[in-house]
Symmetry: C2
Subunit: 191 residues, 2 copies
Amino acid sequence: MNELLDYFKKNVSIPAEIENKLNEIIVEKKLVKGEIILADNSLKKEHIFVVSGCLRSFYKTEEGKEYTIQFAIKNWWISDYITLYTNAKSIITIESLTHSKVLILDKNKTDELYKVYPPFEVFQRKNFEKRTATLQKRILGLLTLSAAEKYNQFINDYADFEKIIPNYQIASFLGITPQSLSRIRKEKFKK
Amino acid sequence: MNELLDYFKKNVSIPAEIENKLNEIIVEKKLVKGEIILADNSLKKEHIFVVSGCLRSFYKTEEGKEYTIQFAIKNWWISDYITLYTNAKSIITIESLTHSKVLILDKNKTDELYKVYPPFEVFQRKNFEKRTATLQKRILGLLTLSAAEKYNQFINDYADFEKIIPNYQIASFLGITPQSLSRIRKEKFKK
DNA sequence: GTAATTTATTACCATAGGTTCAGTTTTAAA
DNA sequence: TTTAAAACTGAACCTATGGTAATAAATTAC
């Protein structure tokens, strides 16, 4: 009864003893709206898998400005990849935008799992490949597009998110101010 | 006598038959300065590993503006991750900035290798994890930093590249114009 | 249902960085 | 070595987007 396993099992079968191991590693957690699952300044190394709801990761400056790194819905992973794969302390926060359910996989335990059950390694290698493509696309968008173009791309690529996410957070994802986004929306929707 | 294998072997030993397989998959190629190894509009799916020299991947608009996605030196991978992991045609070009030597791994053959030799899968999963962290950092920089700050970060993080790479390409990596970079450098070095 | 808080919009001004174009220096080619 | 091409710098001007501030709308809390 674990959604990550269901998702995973679409591709491979899981021996009973491995399924037990997986159930031991995977910790289910329910989050309320606004709840923070990973605070900045922490050293916690965890993979987070979204079962339902919507989460976002963001960086907050000393002056209180927020920059959204990622949004994640059903079947997406969200983590602070810098903390996970370097020894740096977390500078980002992960919060739940809605009531949501996530699965948390401790990094060390996951590394063990990779050893005893290679198909999970394959599964994750493929995940990371896809993520790399997504991130490359994001970088290209940030480099090449105007504010309005970035917003249009967002609306296209993240149609499912648009209704859930407040505009000021979309702006912080695109690297523009809420005022700019407002201006853009006015232009866009008057037509 | 293969540098990727040397690099890889630091962590694991390779059975003889697998080493043969690897040598069959891995194609060595020497590039001259300016040579293009992956053209845009192609569907070629390859992993490229840099043995020596320096390469860069970039996107070029119809008007001829270039946006650099990545630079890569010794022991880095460089590819068009969008073409590799989606069915989209390549919109980026990969060129050699210096005389260089690369190893090319065809995607399909590499996928076979993963199957017969799981340690290579582990090796690549870890590579991709690191890459994800690097890309997250880049995105954060693009979102939060001013042109001058981005340049300073670049100088810090890519010290080895700085002497090799022309300024206009650094500018295209940072998402600013060569003129802007010139202005910034003037300020920076007059102090 | 009302008050309090958060989010979104609008307007007006400020500015970082883009554009254009000219001049100079460096690199490559012949 | 000379010439041509590419890269870099500089300055004047322009524009997209940011900053600030005030208002309105929408959510949330009581």
